[in-house]
């Protein structure tokens, strides 16, 4: 016979050979499992821990991880969602099998689009998406190294059925633990914090970020901080800013009264009058009177159809990054399949649509152009469940008290304060170096949030009280040093910022049109606004050279002026510059970019700007 071994067979055989030859039989863990089941004592594996050469320390400690699952929400009297989903093609009768498990019924391609349209019954300014638009085709992917030895044996217990909910630990103790863990994290990754800024500077910075004035004395007293954050006046402002962030500015497009009502609902959670998870679950399930406002806020965006809703909702409720999987499977973090993305989209569509077409079969386009049927489903890996979740209500119920939701909320609150989530993604240009310490911190905050019955003011106070919120801006990043700082110092300072060990100056608050002008000026071009267009012309006259030099001197301080690396290294795998820029657009959550962005990039390349600097500037142009 001697047919070649396929990779899966080889893996499986290797595992058995390790046992047969290495004399490493499966251990008898009966006693340990029974002990844990009866909660007699926490036990760890009997094997000696293997030394990990990464920067993290291997810690076998386990947290208790008991979670209370709430019961199903009460149905609202009427579903007020005015959120239309366009209908899709009806599958030919011959197609009956459900996609999945390798048996994929692929429908014949037709001219009908498979994207989701966006329509509302009220005059809310929302981008209309033409029906002809389809998701972009697939591009070459980075595939994980099968032989990667980067395996982390540390195990955190997952969700499980609840027997009882432990009380949260005393706030001050948790705060001290977070502080200590962060110092351990910085030590583990070899980053030195820039040092504590004066209290008044920190308070001023937080006022700009959160919109609330905190007492300087509260920075050293987490309980006082919690009291301030949960006061009615502060809670309202914080809730609005949080909503602004998770909707990426979309909440501004919602009608004022509806917005105020939604903010008040969320503010009640910050005031600790309501459980945040319960309120979110009701909003998501369409069972809250504010659900339509919520969905309207998170649906506003520049990308196609309802992609914004899917992406933002997945990030908040399940801490899942779906920026890549709309168009292709994601292998960079192993975080998802395209099929999972569209299955979730189908679930939302079916749960939120009203009227005809909501039950029509749902298709999406594969990278090779074929179309594939998908059934509504939340991927089991996203919610760590072995029971399939196939409808919106089931999913919303599942969210209450869940670790996924807690982790998503923790990261959103962290991002509110620091501008980036606590645990970012490998695909991102900016994310804290990831190791076990960071994972542990994230888990700790998430579990504390769960145990405190989703007291978001408590979590926010822990974040603000942590040493990360009070670091100084490194000299290399100060605006006055923009053009004189050594590149190595600058890079080192940015590494510290990424690891929350230093602060950044307030970023440029410019519209994209203004940023386009800045970038053009940087290469000596001159953009004028003519009507609704920006018209560019090369500035070649010597009479203007002095003025263009002057213009360069007054360019935004965070506009990249030099770069020898790409914004993200995986861009180097993509050969076509246009596709590189498109990917930056998806990464920024901006979806389809305007032609002016591509034109500006071309102008930069024609002006001799390097690929790295060109793409860094494009990133500066389009990032939120």
């Amino acid at each position: 016979m001697n047919k070649d071994l396929n990779p899966t067979e080889e893996h499986a055989l290797d595992a058995l050979l390790l046992e047969a030859l290495g004399d490493a039989p499966p251990p008898d863990q009966t006693a340990k499992i029974l002990a844990r089941c009866h909660d007699v004592s926490e036990v760890v594996s009997s094997r000696a821990p293997k030394v990990v050469t990464s920067s993290g320390d291997r810690d076998r400690s386990k947290s208790s991880g008991w979670i209370l699952l709430a019961s199903a929400a009460v149905l609202a009297a009427s579903l007020l969602i005015a959120f239309g989903w366009r209908s899709f093609r009806v599958a030919p009768d011959s197609i009956g099998a459900v996609a999945g498990g390798g048996k994929d019924p692929v429908a014949a391609s037709s001219n009908e689009p498979n994207d989701l349209g966006l329509a509302t019954s009220e005059s809310v300014p929302v981008q209309k998406v033409p029906r002809e638009q389809k998701p972009p085709r697939g591009i070459p992917l980075m595939v994980a190294d099968r032989d990667s030895s980067n395996r982390d044996p540390k195990l955190q217990p997952e969700n499980g059925p609840v027997l009882s909910q432990p009380q949260p630990a005393e706030l001050t103790l948790v705060s001290k633990q977070v502080n200590s863990d962060f110092h351990a994290y910085w030590q583990a990754i070899g980053i030195k914090p820039s040092g504590d800024a004066p209290a008044e500077t920190v308070v001023e910075r937080l006022a700009m970020i959160l919109g609330v004035e905190l007492a300087e004395s509260s920075l050293d007293d987490v309980a006082q901080l919690h009291d301030q954050l949960s006061s009615p006046a502060h809670a309202n402002v914080i809730a609005l800013n949080w909503l602004q962030q998770i909707s990426e500015g979309g909440v501004a497009n919602v009608k004022k009264d509806a917005r105020a009502a939604l903010v008040a609902e969320l503010a009640a959670c910050f005031q600790t009058n309501k459980r945040f998870d319960r309120v979110l679950a009701e909003l998501v399930a369409g069972e809250s009177p504010h659900s339509s406002t919520f969905y309207r806020a998170i649906s506003v965006g520049s990308d196609q159809g309802n992609a914004s809703v899917v992406r933002r909702l997945a990030a908040l409720t399940m801490n899942v990054d779906l920026r890549c999987t709309r168009c292709h499977d994601s292998y960079i973090e192993g975080s998802g399949l395209q099929h999972d993305y569209w299955a979730f989209t189908a679930l939302l569509r079916r749960g939120l649509s009203t009227g005809k077409g909501k039950s029509d079969p749902f298709f999406y386009e594969l990278p090779d152009g074929r179309e594939r049927l998908v059934e509504p489903l939340v991927a089991e890996a996203w919610i760590n469940s072995d029971q399939p979740i196939t409808n919106l209500r089931q999913w919303a119920e599942r969210l209450e008290g869940s670790t996924e939701l807690a982790t998503g909320v923790v990261n959103s609150l962290w991002q509110l304060v620091h501008g980036q989530p606590l645990r970012g993604r490998v695909v991102d240009p900016i994310s804290a170096p990831h190791n076990e310490s960071l994972s542990r911190l994230e888990d700790q905050l998430a579990q504390d949030l769960i145990q405190s019955e989703f007291n978001v003011a408590r979590t926010l106070s822990l974040i603000i009280a942590s040493p990360t919120a009070r670091q100084t801006i490194p000299p290399a990043l100060l605006p006055e040093n923009a053009f004189v700082a050594d590149e190595a110092d600058r890079r080192s300072a940015l590494d510290a910022v990424n690891a929350f060990a230093a602060s950044m100056p307030v970023p440029t608050q410019l519209s994209q049109a203004a940023r386009l002008v800045e970038v053009s000026r940087a290469i000596g071009s001159h953009l004028q606004v003519q009507g609704d267009s920006l018209v560019g012309q090369a500035d070649t006259s010597s009479a203007n050279s002095a003025s263009s030099q002057k213009s360069t001197n007054s360019l935004s301080v965070d506009l990249p002026s030099r770069a020898d690396t790409l914004p993200v290294q995986w861009l180097g795998q993509i050969r076509d510059e246009r596709i590189q820029i498109e990917h930056l657009g998806h990464l920024a959550g901006a979806g389809q970019l305007s032609s002016q962005v591509f034109d500006t990039a071309e102008q930069m390349r024609n002006a001799g700007v390097s690929e790295e600097l060109c793409l860094q500037r494009v990133w500066w142009l389009i990032r939120r």
């Binding site: 046992e19 047969a20 499966p26 029974l34």
Partner: protein, 177 residues
């Protein structure tokens, strides 16, 4: 006995019956031994704490446990932001059923593998022992056998194919008996 007329195993019996299978399944998915230990524990904890879990049959229980273990592993990788290629469960289930389907634990497959190893040439046995027992590199194996690294790789690949065929043939034979 449950409503289906099946005599259900108690927790200790359930663990003893299925833990080897779950552990080996996790190892086949690429887990290190320590992670497989931990996830095996978690798998049983989840299942034992689930009120709705019913033991329809040994095979059904084994499948349910393996699926739970798979989900835990995927979640574990996701949680730690690791880049891992985890085989599709359907592919691995097919291999599992071929090799461990009869006794559900894989004990028979490992025993058969040991028998089949002894049928290989001495050079092949040495190469595999160096690779799996001593964690030697291909270079080291090549030097010991006085062949190139590439030659060592090919030798081990051929040996593994022979082992696969031998194990499957013997298991098939035992099934028929």
């Amino acid at each position: 006995m449950n409503a289906s007329g099946v005599v259900e195993l108690g927790p200790a019996e359930l663990i003893e019956r299925h833990q080897n299978g779950v552990w080996r399944y996790l190892r086949m998915l690429g887990c290190e031994a320590a992670t497989a230990d931990d996830l095996t524990q978690e798998t049983f904890l989840r299942v034992l704490r689930r009120d709705t879990f019913v033991q329809h049959s040994d095979a059904a229980t084994s499948s349910y446990l393996r699926r739970t273990a798979y989900n835990l592993l995927v979640s574990h990788h996701r949680k730690h932001g690791r880049v891992q290629n985890v085989p599709e469960p359907s592919q691995l289930d097919e291999i599992w059923n071929r090799w461990a389907g009869k006794d559900l634990s894989g004990d028979k497959a490992v025993e058969t593998l040991r028998d089949c190893l002894s049928a290989l040439t001495e050079r092949a046995q040495l190469a595999l022992r160096m690779r799996f027992a001593d964690d030697a590199s291909r270079n080291e194996i090549g030097s010991a056998l006085e062949i190139t690294e590439h030659g060592a790789r090919n030798l081990m690949q051929r040996a593994k194919q022979q082992l696969r065929d031998c194990v499957e043939a013997k298991l098939e034979q035992d099934k028929d008996e």
